[in-house]
Subunit: 371 residues, 4 copies
Amino acid sequence: MTSTLSPVSLTAIDAPGQPTPSPELEELYRGFEQELLVPLWTEIGDLMPSSPRPGAQAHAWRWQNLLRLAERSGDLVPVGRGGERRAIALANPGLGGAPFATPTLWAAIQYLNPGEDAPVHRHTQHAFRFVVEGEGVWTVVDGDPVAMRRGDFLLTSGWRFHGHHNQSDAPMAWLDGLDIPFSHYLGTTFFEFGPDAVADRSTPPRSRAERLWAHPGLRPVSQPGPADSSPIAAYRWEHTDAALADQLALEDAGHAGVVEPGHAAVRFTNPTTGGDVMPTIRAEMHRLRADTRTATRREVGSAVWQVFDGAGRVRVGDREWPVERGDLVVVPSWQPLTVTAETELDLFRFSDTPIVERLHADRVQVEGAPA
Amino acid sequence: MTSTLSPVSLTAIDAPGQPTPSPELEELYRGFEQELLVPLWTEIGDLMPSSPRPGAQAHAWRWQNLLRLAERSGDLVPVGRGGERRAIALANPGLGGAPFATPTLWAAIQYLNPGEDAPVHRHTQHAFRFVVEGEGVWTVVDGDPVAMRRGDFLLTSGWRFHGHHNQSDAPMAWLDGLDIPFSHYLGTTFFEFGPDAVADRSTPPRSRAERLWAHPGLRPVSQPGPADSSPIAAYRWEHTDAALADQLALEDAGHAGVVEPGHAAVRFTNPTTGGDVMPTIRAEMHRLRADTRTATRREVGSAVWQVFDGAGRVRVGDREWPVERGDLVVVPSWQPLTVTAETELDLFRFSDTPIVERLHADRVQVEGAPA
Amino acid sequence: MTSTLSPVSLTAIDAPGQPTPSPELEELYRGFEQELLVPLWTEIGDLMPSSPRPGAQAHAWRWQNLLRLAERSGDLVPVGRGGERRAIALANPGLGGAPFATPTLWAAIQYLNPGEDAPVHRHTQHAFRFVVEGEGVWTVVDGDPVAMRRGDFLLTSGWRFHGHHNQSDAPMAWLDGLDIPFSHYLGTTFFEFGPDAVADRSTPPRSRAERLWAHPGLRPVSQPGPADSSPIAAYRWEHTDAALADQLALEDAGHAGVVEPGHAAVRFTNPTTGGDVMPTIRAEMHRLRADTRTATRREVGSAVWQVFDGAGRVRVGDREWPVERGDLVVVPSWQPLTVTAETELDLFRFSDTPIVERLHADRVQVEGAPA
Amino acid sequence: MTSTLSPVSLTAIDAPGQPTPSPELEELYRGFEQELLVPLWTEIGDLMPSSPRPGAQAHAWRWQNLLRLAERSGDLVPVGRGGERRAIALANPGLGGAPFATPTLWAAIQYLNPGEDAPVHRHTQHAFRFVVEGEGVWTVVDGDPVAMRRGDFLLTSGWRFHGHHNQSDAPMAWLDGLDIPFSHYLGTTFFEFGPDAVADRSTPPRSRAERLWAHPGLRPVSQPGPADSSPIAAYRWEHTDAALADQLALEDAGHAGVVEPGHAAVRFTNPTTGGDVMPTIRAEMHRLRADTRTATRREVGSAVWQVFDGAGRVRVGDREWPVERGDLVVVPSWQPLTVTAETELDLFRFSDTPIVERLHADRVQVEGAPA
């Protein structure tokens, strides 16, 4: 039951709260190493801080850089079986080079040339697409063709077969969000290949899922009961935009609805439960009026923001970035976030909040609301 | 602890399963009467049948008759404090003359002349309106003006102040549905008067509730969590109609969605839960293609159907009625129902199924699906 | 669509809130009667009172009277197929002679002579037994023999086959509680006969259900998930008594636990959910120290109390009864209840609160807590 | 937005599914590194295997080794503010030397000398203790003294102040289980110091929590509603043992209850919900008859087993260990587990299954049940 080359390595140090170094203590620590043991007293500062000290760091990525490298990948990297997707993921600088935007969340730019097919597969990871610009690709989810257009939020919840194909004359890029890091961490991943290309190459403007489910406050009687993930394959921009505009119009008329002055926000939901679209991912769209600033807010759990339109600044802790269309910012757990809009500013946000809330670990702190 | 005039009255009879009549038995029964007791053995046939034998009866009411009497009431009966509403309720012939469509459900025609106000009040009973024809009335729910138009389904869930006013030049009639009988039975009723007239007489085409909540798959971030009843004040006909049309178009294309061949149906839902709009009432809209017939179906729980458009026949047990726009049919618990469409037939349905399902008493039996 | 002999009967009266009587109004009312319609304005006072005005009345039954009549029934009324049970139910004086303790609840004394069998059947109604005195009967629930002893609370949730047999030399009487009136009202009743006598006549002290489920905070891994009703067939007096004694001991030591000074109470629960034992019935045991009095409390929903031990007084509204072992008192919805203990007083209580709570109609008002 | 020393490091390789290496591809990869990006196509094999391939390894630790090193720590390492606890944690050989038994679970031996106090603190991590041998320590949880004895399972759910003190003449060691790794991963940790020693040094045999909550199927009426974690502070061995013995006795009599032949198991539950004791941790006790073997079972999620009594063998994948009292074995996600009992064998098990189940990622596969 021992390991000759132990990964455990302990050092006796002379510090408050630590046992006094001595040859006997060193011998004890060697025993720990041999038996694959680590005492709490040397680790408690790291493991039990007074508030979350995530390893992930706040960071920003410029969409123009992502797009430039994705285009170049379009020249050099074929899409096909094996590599599966021409997707390029954000690697948080605090997470050792792994392709993880946060400990739980994957965020990537995916790029498909005219006429290309991304082959069909399925996996237990939950996925969405968010389209900052362009159109012309259909993602086919369990046989249902789903058009992708600017502003749309598109779902591929876990274990559904899906492939994409570009029917247009132009390349198309979009944001992929998944819970790959969380699934990898927890050891819950299953994966299966499907056909090399999608079977149904029709290009309807609306998916079958939308025709059944995307009617406000209505559900088909033929599909009762709660579902783990939302059955709505596509949340169209026209609806999201109208909902945000309505909140600001209500504010203009003196009525409730916005989350704070000048700040409208909607959450994408699972219409069978009213909850989040997928078990592990929350997704929202925010709109700030020009020249407004959000209160500074900390939340347990990590998030990724992407600018959909407009210009402004995003501050996380003591760092701040100017942002414009497509730019991405990662917000680790419990880091204070402030967003400032220079023009009217639309932002897409996704986070691991459903994990945090389902495990009753959610906490929020709001400070410094603007006067 | 005795009652000189007991409501209990027992008769010893000579029948299978009954004790042999005798002077001693008669004396025992007199003792039961005096002590306000009733034996199971005389009542078990009524109380414990092999399947539900409701007291309520299937029955149909013609909208033209209701409308004629409502118009006459418009001449003779003022609307105001005390009587509160010019509402005329269906009295199930099996329920002793009480204004109860079924043991749990109230269904009434309400009628408002041009310029009239129905005064503001609130009650714990849950209410809705369904509009078969006409427009011009606004119902103001907790201060939010809600336009009423043909095909709309409008909510006033329990304990919300509400009044109506007719801003048009024509009278307007509509269907009111409530859980008044159930609330009366269970002893849960609270009631309060508000002002004699609504405060906000504005006439917006959409309510504030709709602007916040009637966007498909979206919810305002400012209002998290589940609510007992739906926050959507109005489910507009244009959405309901589109959802039904989509189901039939999917069927035409060979895809799933309808409840049975030629039969589309949507349920009005609470977007914060995905469940029914109110704790005690389910509401649905059904569309049958011309010349189709539903399977015969029994359900535990009672329902009321109203024809919205088209013509056909409704059979309940061994009775059948021809129906057209506005006609109402009551279906008691476990009575077999078959609907036949002569033209395309749209029907509104409401029922007490949420009560039955929350108490785990739901059963459904479907027979004789059309070939 | 008309009925020649209408159950509806309306009278025009000259009263506030009512339309002025006239020949035209009388003609309108005849039209309502003919079409089976009832206006709200004549009924609103009854249907929409400012707070619940139940038809059921508070009333008390003496156990000695029940027992005397049950013994006499034991002489005159055989137990067997058809009558099924020698059960004699409380008939609330406000409910027209029906065997209903409250609008929702059935409460009866059941009596079985030595050597008798009550035949096996099942029904969708939920049932329990509570034993005020005696022992020697086993109720066999889905084949599992369950001993009945003083103080035990025994479950037969819906659709489980059950029969009873008396293995002792003495007759035995107990309290049956069911949701028969509610099931009858809602139209949810199904019933099936089983064998004429129970198959397993063994007399184990503990049922198999208890051996699997009646361990504190533990559940068998082989039976995961929530169940509609509790799987615990018998809640034994020794546990109930200990739990009540512990609460009073905690109070003596200055710790929380009792519901109010001198008043301990435990609720019987479904261990798979933590909620009530059955979908429609709540059951509790209360213990008051000698010379204490509860606060006066109103609750939406109706209840039945039975004295298990001790002596005191029960006041409901403006009526008060002295009570002792076995006496039963019915408390209609929203009637103020005060219980006074002369000796230490143990009371069993059951109510329809789960119905009220699941439909979000619950309200409680507590007044006049003792100084 | 760039990082001069990128943690990202990419290598172009010539392999199936990979783009053909070229200077242009190398240049692209350098661009990725500079912009903190990682392509999916180089990582998909690791991130999306066909079934879970956890980094954690199956491993066994001998209790005698743990105890020896804990005793030596008792000589050399004081317990007090700063280090907080004399706890020594299992470090999974696949997790880089971190004190994590699995990616989510912490498992440590804690050791307290006679007369010692572990100071009071609280943290959002959920904790339990399981006692393999000994007694004499009280853990005081939110002021409630809880005795610790062999076989007991003791809870300290998140954010409750707690300290321990040894009132006996002998040292005491026990197993601590927490969700420290998961909390660290997700960034949900909050921590606060309390007093240096517990305030209430009384030594009652039962805690107040038990007196309120540890009665089978009963709950105090004064504490309604669901709680995130179980309110039962101590699950006593006498109850666990009786429940296991009952299952085997039922099996002897031919009745259902065991999970498979010769294998009894109970789960510790939250009596307010029927679910797991804490949001992130499941805990169970298993008993195998002598000379039996479990079916081989894989589950998504990781677990730690500790032998409570008896002797046998534990196989995980292609490794097998003989085990006896106190020995611990870690089972990573989806690794096949088989337990063989030589004598009657009692095992304690805890796992992260509640996380997996709440996120709907649970899967189980059972093979090779013994003939």
